[in-house]
Amino acid sequence: MAQLHTWCGLLAAWLLFAVFLTGTLSYFKESISLWMQPELPSVAANAEWDNRRLADYWQHYLAEHASTARNWQITFPDERMSVSTAVWFGEDGSEQLVLDPTTLTLVTPRETRGGDFFYRFHFQLHHLPAVYGRWIIGIATMMMFVAVISGVITHKKILRDFFAFRPQKGARSWLDAHNACSVLTLPFQLMITYTGLITLMSLYMPWGLERAFPDADARRQAISELHAFPLSGPATGQPAALHALSELVGDAESHWQKPVQSLRVSHPGDAGARVAVWQSALEALSAHRPQRIYEASSGALLAEIQSQRIDEQAHGVMVGLHAGRYANWGMRWIYFSLGAAGCGMVATGLLLWTSKRKYKKGSELGMWCVERLNIATLAGMPIAVLAFLASNRLLPVALSGRAQWEIHFFFVAWLLALLHAVLRRSASQAWREQLTLTVILLLCLPMLNLLAPSYSVLGDLAAGNWQRVSVDLMCLVGALIIVWQMKRAAKKTLSRVPPTQVAS
C-alpha cells in the first residue's frame, strides 16, 4: 500500500501540482480577469443596478448589431464580476461586449484570456485537443484519488500524529508537513478529487450512456438533461418580433425572489426563438441553477426547469461543490486556502521523496530527474503564472493576438525554468535562483498595476472594490512568505557548514 501511495503520487505529482495551482487560482478567476483588464470600471461594492434596464439595453443593441446571430448570451453583474457582458455567435464566430452597469456605457478592455486561462488549463491543459487534455487530467486525477486513499490506509498514526510537527529533522519534517497538508484537509482533498472525476464522467465512462441511448440525438438530450442545460430547438425560418427581455427578467426575478444571473436567446428574430433565464448561482449548492424558458415572440412561459431527479441533483451538487460557484467571498477564501493546502500536499510529497533518497546510492539518475522536475514545477510553475500576469501589462494593448502572446509567455517561462533547472549544476542554486525570480516577479506585479494608465488603485479602494487590490496584496504576501522561508533555509544551511569553511 505504501508503494502504491508513493508511485501513484510521484508519477502524477508534477501534473497534479500544475492542476492544483491553476485550479486554486480559478476560484478567483473573475478577480484575476478584472486585474488583467484595468480598463474595466471600478464599480462600487455597494452599487445597485437594475437587471431589467441592462436587458433592455442589450436587446436594443444586439437587435441593431447582431440580428443575424444564432444566439445571444447575456450575463448580468454580480458579487464576482461587476460588469455585464453579451456574447453572440454568428457566421464569423463569437463576439463579446462589456457594459458598465451603472453608467450603461460600453467598455473596450484589452484582449486577454484572463483568469479563464487558468480555469481551462486545470482540466484540459493547452496546446492539445481538449479531449486528450481532459483524458490526461482524468488519469492523473484517478492516480491522485488512489494516492489519497492509500495514504489514509498507510498512515498508521493518523489520529495520534494529527497535530504533530517535528521541525529540523530532515525527511521526518517533510513527512509531518505532508501529513498536515493532507490529513487536516482530507475532506476537501477527497471531495475535490472525486467531484473532479464526476464532472467529466460522461467522457471518462461513456459506455453506460451509449448502451442506454444508442441514438446520438437521444444521448445529447440525456446529457443536456443531466447538466440541466436545455438544447435550443431548430429555427422555423419565419420572422417574429422579440418580446421585451426586461419583462422576462422581471418576471423571473419576482418569481424566484432572487437575481437573474444570465439569459440566452436562441435564434433571435425567428418565430421559433426561445429565451432561457438562469437564476444566480450564489448560495445554492447545486451547479444546476433553476431556469425558466420563455417563448421569445409572446413571452409565454414554456418550462420551469429545476433538477428534480435524484441523479440530476447529485450531479449538480457534485459539480457545484467542485466549482464553488455558490461561494461568496468568505467561502471562496476557504476554497482558496484548501486548494493551496492541496498544492502544499503535492509539493511536500515530492520533497519528501527526494529528501528520503538523497543519500542513498544506486538511484542517481532517477534522483536527478525528480529533483530537476521538482524545481521546474514547484518553482517554475509559479514563475510561469507570474510571467503570464506580467506579460498582460508589458505587451502593447493594441497588439494583435495579444491574448495568445500572453499564453506564449506562460509556456516559454515554464520551459526556461525547466532548462535552467536542468542546466544548473547545483540543485540548491537552481532552487535559490528560481525562488528569487519568483519573489522579484511577485514584487513587480503590484508596481506594474500601479503604472497601468487606465487604472487607479485609489479609485478601487475608494469604491470599496477589493477584487483587483487583493490580487496585488496576495502577490506581496506570497513574496513575504517565500523570502521568510528562503531566509530560514539559508540560516539552516549556514548552521550545517563546518566553522572552518565559514571562516575561509
Partner: protein
C-alpha cells in the same frame, strides 16, 4: 461575520483537542487527568458550529462550510502549535 464565528469556534475546539494530546499536554504543563475532559469539550465545541452553519444557511451548504472551516481551523491550530514551539525554544 457568521463564517468568522464558525472558524473561531472550530479553532477553539481543535485547540482543546490538541492540548489533550500527550505531546502538547506536557508542553503546556497540563495534568493527565485533564486530558479526557479537554478532548470531549473540544469535540463538543466542534459540533456547535455545525448547528450554527445549518441554521444560517441550508443543511447542505451548512455541512459543506462546516467541513471547510474544520480543515482551515485545524491548519491554524497546527501552524499555531508549530510557531508556539519555536517561540518556546527561542525563549
Amino acid at each position: 461575520m457568521m463564517l468568522i464565528t464558525i472558524l473561531a469556534l472550530c479553532t477553539l475546539g481543535f485547540t482543546l483537542i490538541a492540548l489533550s494530546d500527550n505531546r502538547h499536554r506536557r508542553r503546556c504543563g497540563l495534568k493527565p487527568a485533564q486530558q479526557k475532559p479537554w478532548f470531549w469539550a473540544g469535540s463538543a465545541i466542534l459540533g456547535w458550529p455545525l448547528w450554527l452553519a445549518m441554521e444560517t444557511w441550508s443543511t447542505g451548504l451548512g455541512i459543506t462550510l462546516w467541513l471547510g472551516c474544520l480543515s482551515i481551523s485545524a491548519g491554524v491550530v497546527f501552524l499555531g502549535l508549530a510557531m508556539f514551539e519555536r517561540l518556546r525554544q527561542q525563549l
